[in-house]
């Protein structure tokens, strides 16, 4: 009995000492600890992502020959249509090159694109964050925009050696500026992620919409990036205004919700646009200018 009591006392003492040490530890040690944990976790995340890819591969491989030949037929049709499109785009590209040569216009590449597979979703922030299988070793830096095609997916918030964390457009930690389709005066609006409830669809809030803005008739208004904030390139698609709640008028402005144009839950692959030059926001995130 006494031994039990002594053991219990010892464990309480040990716990107290651990808590005290943890509180008193310098923040750098704690950060290092957290970083070490993430790096320790990284191979597991890689393995998880790859096993999901493998599962998808075997799921496709197990399909019947009839099914595959039907899919092949459909694909051939789509390919034929795309080939025509490719030719048209090639014409446009040539015309673009010709015009650039005439005007001696040379657009510097501001971003380096890094393609990355999605490893997992971070459940700690209600699935508003994904982890990708590229990190510092691949040149990814914090603050870099993440896109899929011409659609904004989110923004890199933390970079580790081989993985990176990305806040999705619908994450409460995401904020950017946008233009609304149909607003001739190009007023900038504010896009902020909203914490989703457990069963609801994740959305972002679009605020500071001018009171006299009216949506284009018969279609959902698209929201684009402005390219003015120094983070996102211009004219990338952020999503659509939610028509159902559009008329909400908040204070001196209107407010609406943004429906992301991609299903952010089913992303397999994304591109990280790493800026060639470090911007002030990135410096602030790394804290190297003010520490």
């Amino acid at each position: 009995m006494d031994q039990n009591r002594q053991g219990a006392r010892a464990s309480y003492v040990a716990l107290s000492i651990f808590v005290a040490v943890w509180i008193l530890l310098p923040s750098a040690v704690r950060r290092l600890n957290r970083e070490a944990f993430v790096e320790f976790q990284a191979p597991a995340l890689h393995l998880l992502g790859k096993s999901r890819d493998l599962a998808t591969f075997w799921e496709k491989k197990s399909r019947s020959v009839e099914e595959m030949s039907a899919a092949g037929r459909d694909l051939a049709r789509i390919n034929a249509a795309l080939e025509i499109k490719v030719n048209a785009l090639e014409d446009l590209r040539r015309e673009n090159v010709r015009l650039r040569e005439i005007t001696r216009y040379n657009v510097p590449a501001e971003y380096m694109s890094v393609v990355a597979r999605v490893a997992t979703r971070d459940s700690s922030s209600w699935w508003q964050r994904i982890v990708i299988r590229k990190g510092r070793n691949d040149g990814i830096r914090p603050g870099a925009p993440v896109v899929f095609g011409n659609t904004v997916v989110g923004r890199v918030t933390a970079v580790h050696l081989t993985t990176s964390e990305v806040d999705l457009v619908t994450s409460p930690g995401f904020r950017c500026t946008g233009y609304l389709e149909g607003d001739d005066q190009n007023h900038i609006v504010l896009i902020n992620g909203v914490a989703a409830n457990s069963l609801g669809t994740a959305k972002a809030r679009v605020s500071v919409i001018p009171r006299d803005y009216s949506m284009p008739a018969g279609q959902q208004a698209r929201v684009f990036t402005t390219g003015m904030g120094g983070v996102f390139p211009s004219r990338l698609m952020l999503g659509y205004l939610d028509g159902g709640t559009y008329a909400t008028q908040v204070g001196n402005f209107k407010e609406s919700l943004l429906i992301p144009s991609r299903d952010l839950y089913n992303l397999q692959e994304v591109s990280v646009l790493v800026p060639l030059h470090q911007n002030p926001g990135e410096a602030l995130m790394q804290g190297d200018q003010f520490q």
């Binding site: 950017c176 504010l190 402005t226 003015m228 001196n252 402005f253 911007n279 002030p280 602030l284 003010f290």
Partner: protein, 696 residues
């Protein structure tokens, strides 16, 4: 013995019983007192106590609404609102940082072995240093020159001393904020689109600055981005005297008593600085434009900072005002005035008015020099105020400027003479180089005179001698009465009751033409101690000189009245399609058709071949009358250039007046100086009329 005493449980004697009951009642009374007190507080006082508790732990924050817009008659916004993005620090979230900095400074002070330690001062320093640190970060992000930070050396820590002025935390502002509005966030950058200087950035730069902050500054933390509304005047200085400007107000909003949470007297109320009209339509229609304030009910921490927002109601924007101005005509008038410069290149003080002949609605009302209400919409810098003051830009010369009307008054002299039957439209009077009145020769402006002059020719050439003769024949009493009949002594743009106007919105501009108007007569001269009235005074008045003082708006109304064949025009700055064109106090002009025809014909001839021929417009015959009055500027003689008129000559639609204050060293004449401005306005009006016709 002992046994018997141990077994005695209940008091047996009456005394002991009495004592026991005493104790029992004492405790019972105490118990009832406690229960009763509890019940009293719970059942009777509960509402009061709850209210008391609420008011101690809660506060209401009032938020100002957006003001309504002001449009021109065609719906173009002349005054609008733009989003203002401000960076604010949440002081409650910064408490830990303040404390840490305070302890650091305190230990440094102790290490210095200071004789006395002023803890208040150290706390203030700590707050300023922390806020300055955050302000440095904000500027680091919004400064365009930091676009590429790769390879840059780390920023040195700017302090309130080393940072540029516009990038410093203002200690006085911080003190005031902590004293009066501690619970509200403290403003670090007031307007991200125009940080620091409050001007000079292009709108694109402004938007970039906002966008950089939004996208690059960390979302979480004590620094917040807030949006509110600031007044904007898209056309800058255009029509600024009509539109006016807004100023800050710390007064509680008008609808404060409608808010139930605010009605609790002991509830603490905080409110953001609002805006109120300070001049022009912004002031006179403040009750329409100002809207209803919103409010937020907050619980507060023990240190007095806001904790949780419990309830809120959004502000409601104010109503819009539709002015009678047409911005295209207004622009033309102001461009025309801007061409008037003295030899040194300074703008000449001037005014121009155009109004609808039938409704009295003002289509353009310009005064030069002017001011930019955008520079007054937020904070008025004393430098800008003095700059405008020095130029005389605050005075609305169209409605407040008092001038002798000069020869434009001759239309009234002629009307008075014909109504008194001392002259008729076809009478020819001999007009030489001068006319003798008493012992003095009153000159003609043409050295050789004009010979025989009738009404038609008088108006075309602006003959003075004709007017001296007719004025003297008419007499001062009839002449002054005629001027009053045309409303030259009547205030304009004043509030008129709804009953009088038949329920229509009526005109009003603050500081309108209502003070200092003079239609001189015998009593007036005696009253000012200038002696008795003489014929020389009458001769002077007959050509619009002497003591007579009026405004360009009054003279535009005279032109409109003649165009309609009436005596009064009531101008309006508000557009209403229901306006029926009734003009209060208006009477028929009192001339027979031939006389009226001759009066109008003379004004048309004035433009076609007379003193206003420089302002002739091909394809648009119109009526005009020029005037060149003498006045003294800084003790030296100078000229006022006038032109009034209406257009088209047949079926008039618009009437106008232009006035230019000539300088002592300039060559200023009615037709030559004021004519081109009138021409510019009329051409703009003709363009808009064509557009309207085409649209129909």
């Amino acid at each position: 013995m002992n046994e018997s005493s141990d077994n005695r449980v209940l008091p047996s004697t009456p005394v002991e019983r009495l004592r026991l009951f005493g104790v029992f009642f004492f405790f019972l009374a105490g118990f009832l007192y406690v229960v009763g007190g509890l019940a009293y507080r719970q059942l009777i006082q509960s509402n009061d106590l709850k209210e008391q508790s609420d008011t101690q732990s809660r506060r209401v924050v009032l938020k100002p609404p957006a003001r309504g817009r002001i449009y021109d008659r065609n719906g173009f916004p002349l005054v609008d609102n733009r989003a203002r993005w401000s960076v604010k620090a949440d002081l409650a979230s910064l408490q830990k940082e303040f404390r840490a900095e305070y302890l650091r400074l305190l230990s440094a002070e102790r290490a210095r072995e200071a004789v006395s330690t002023d803890r208040e001062k150290i706390m203030e320093d700590a707050r300023v240093r922390v806020l300055q640190g955050w302000l440095n970060k904000v500027w680091f992000v919004i400064d365009e020159t930091n676009r590429n930070t790769k390879g840059r050396k780390p920023l040195t820590k700017l302090t309130t001393v080393t940072a540029p002025t516009e990038r410093q935390v203002n200690i006085d502002d911080l003190r005031k904020h902590l004293r009066e509005r501690r619970a509200l966030p403290f403003t670090l950058v007031n307007d991200l689109a125009f940080p620091g200087t409050g001007q000079a950035l292009t709108s694109e730069d402004g938007v970039k600055s906002v966008a950089r902050f939004i996208e690059q500054f960390p979302v979480e933390g004590p620094i917040r981005l807030e949006q509110d509304i600031v007044r904007t005047y898209p056309f800058g200085v255009m029509a600024s005297h009509v539109l006016g400007y807004v100023k800050d107000t710390d007064a509680l909003p008008a609808n404060v008593d409608d808010i139930s949470e605010v009605r609790v007297e002991s509830m603490q109320k905080l409110h953001y600085t609002g805006k109120t009209g300070a001049a022009g339509v912004e002031l006179s229609y403040d009750h329409v434009l100002s809207g209803r304030s919103g409010w937020e009910l907050w619980s507060k921490t023990s240190s007095g900072y806001n904790q949780t927002r419990l309830k809120y109601s959004e502000p409601e924007q104010g109503g819009n005002v539709l002015l009678s101005l047409d911005y295209r005509i207004q622009q033309a008038a102001e461009s025309g005035l801007a061409n008037l410069k003295d030899p040194q290149g300074n703008l000449l003080p001037a005014a121009a008015v155009m109004l609808d002949v039938h409704t009295g609605e003002i289509l353009a009302l310009a005064s030069q020099p002017s001011f930019d209400p955008n520079r007054l919409a937020d904070r008025v810098s004393s430098k800008y105020y003095e700059e405008v003051e020095k130029l005389g830009g605050w005075l609305n010369r169209a409605t407040q400027g008092l001038y002798a009307p000069g020869s434009t008054f001759k239309v009234i002299t002629a009307t008075a003479g014909m109504r008194k039957k001392v002259v008729d439209w076809d009478d020819a009077l001999e007009c030489g180089a001068f006319f003798r009145v008493g012992n003095r020769d009153y000159p003609e402006h043409e050295p050789v005179g004009f010979g025989e002059v009738n009404l038609d020719k008088m108006l075309a050439v602006s003959c003075n001698v004709w007017n001296y003769q007719v004025g003297l024949r008419t007499g001062i009493d009839a002449l002054a009465a005629e001027a009053r009949r045309f409303g030259l002594d009547t205030p304009l743009l004043q509030t008129v009751s709804d009953v009088e106007t038949g329920g229509l919105p009526m005109t009003e501009l603050p500081f309108a033409a209502n003070r200092g108007l003079v239609v001189p007569d015998r009593e007036y001269k005696l009253r000012i101690g200038a002696g008795t009235w003489n014929d020389g005074d009458t001769a002077n008045l007959s050509i619009g000189q002497g003591y007579l003082l009026t405004t360009p708006l009054h003279m535009a109304c005279v032109a409109a009245s003649i165009a309609r064949g009436e005596t009064r025009t009531v101008p309006s700055i508000i557009h209403s399609v229901e306006r029926n064109g009734r003009h209060l106090g208006a009477q028929p002009i009192g001339l027979n058709p031939d006389q009226l025809e001759a009066l109008r014909g003379g004004m048309v001839r004035c433009v076609e071949e007379g003193t206003a021929r420089v302002a002739r417009i091909q394809g648009l015959p119109y009526a005009g009358k020029t005037g060149t009055a003498e006045y003294f500027k800084k003790g030296e003689k100078a000229h006022l250039a006038w032109m009034i008129g209406y257009a088209p000559a047949e079926n008039p639609v618009v009437a106008f007046a232009v006035l230019v204050e000539g300088q002592t060293d300039t060559n200023t004449w009615g037709g030559k100086t004021a004519g081109p401005v009138a021409k510019a306005m009329l051409e703009a009006w003709a363009g808009t009329a064509e557009t309207t016709k085409a649209a129909r």
